[in-house]
Subunit: 304 residues, 2 copies
Amino acid sequence: MSLLVVGSVALDTVETPFGKIEDALGGSAVFFACAASLLHPVKIVGVVGKDYPMGELQKLAARGVDLSGVTVAEGESFRWAGKYGFDLSSRDTLETRLGVFANFKPQIPPELRSSDYVFLGNIDPELQLDVLNQVTKPKFVACDTMNYWIQGKRTALMKLLERVDCLMVNDSEIRELSGDWHIHRAARWVIAHGPKYVVIKQGEHGAVLVGDGRIFYVPAFPLEDVFDPTGAGDSFAGGFMGHVARTGSIDHANLRTAMVYGSALGGFAVERFSVQRFDEIGPADVARRVQAYKDLVHFETGLA
Amino acid sequence: MSLLVVGSVALDTVETPFGKIEDALGGSAVFFACAASLLHPVKIVGVVGKDYPMGELQKLAARGVDLSGVTVAEGESFRWAGKYGFDLSSRDTLETRLGVFANFKPQIPPELRSSDYVFLGNIDPELQLDVLNQVTKPKFVACDTMNYWIQGKRTALMKLLERVDCLMVNDSEIRELSGDWHIHRAARWVIAHGPKYVVIKQGEHGAVLVGDGRIFYVPAFPLEDVFDPTGAGDSFAGGFMGHVARTGSIDHANLRTAMVYGSALGGFAVERFSVQRFDEIGPADVARRVQAYKDLVHFETGLA
């Protein structure tokens, strides 16, 4: 079952209370692919500038990431710089230089158009729609978005919602999109506008799956050290979609399991800068962490 | 197994985006007792002024609340007034008039001194210690506190911690108490200073039990309407301790179940003003909600 991600391939400069890293691998497609590839092969469609450290990116190929859809264009790579506060829950964006990403018009190579599972990273919803027009018959499409598009490209975003199976956003995004502060009502609003499922990512407070008239909570894994929150949401998406693609099942029970994989991979992402943590772990580490979630939430009702 | 709560018996004036209520039953001991009494008989020790609507308070007796430890003193009852913001997560205290509560020196009536399970509501830790000196041999003691005492009565609070089994606080309180923003490390710090268990209440994000080298998460119940958050934490404590007292077990598995009862009762509390919701529900409603938590968190790992 083939898995495709379309999104940014960036160079991140990140400062946290624990250190700083410059021009490190980043972007939604990179975090997604690093996480997903621990579970299932994944193909990236994206664009980089001539300055991108292709040697670093090529290392992902050894882990099952197909980079044939990454175009190298004239110009500079997308760069993002941010600084996190003491508790890592607030961050300031210091710089966003779109570079070649400003003219990104995703072209899905013919051999990737039959992808079964598709994740549309946070890009202009018109481009996300354009990707869907190139993909022949996906089994399950999930997308991310952000307040910038909710405010600026609402019409395209609402058209996109009609065509995706799952919207994955954080609480502030779903509140702004729906105009409702109550996240469960907000999720139902989204579902009324197209997607069968909504995943609300709540950072250190875990994530919620809404769909099929049911609600499922998964906590964030209680990490000993949180180092750099960048990429947690895309790594969550990678774990979620990686599990879905690997199992080839989108039934409700399996999407719950996918939520736990998402939470596990999102947790790994924040334990190091950039995608460094994914170099240190293998599928067995992921399985161990998923197993550990059982003990985090297990209880007996004591009722008959 | 007898259950005792010592805390405030107050009159609350609360304004939310949905309405306003004046001089309604409130205070930690009242919310605790209303919640706990749905599970197990409970005895209150507290003080009110001559202006307290004793008829209203007496109604709790019909539900299994023993009011023989509530003293009526010369002066005004403790009054609190607060106003909640649009999303109910921020609140301003408009007024705190301690009245007779300023001179509250809990006297535990002889027949309540052999209580098995004791909850020390949020009062001066010196008074909490004084209560423990009057209780002969409790099986399990839990206490609440607040930033005011953490800052102003730290020595007494640290002495108290050596004598309680469980500290129940919110995230900002445990962060301030331990000096560590990382709530799991903070919980371990507390455990190193006495209590075997720590419960961290996180409002709409649920609650965490730390102890026995394990961590347990329970989400907040996804309520259709949140009306008035006042008393949620004390109702949580009431559900938790009510379940413990009813079952007479403090083993790890049963404390997890108690967390779910706590979350269920905390959720009921916020669905109406004051303790009104507890008038509408019975043990079967509580059991139904506890059962519903199973579906909120259940997943299969898919692992052997």
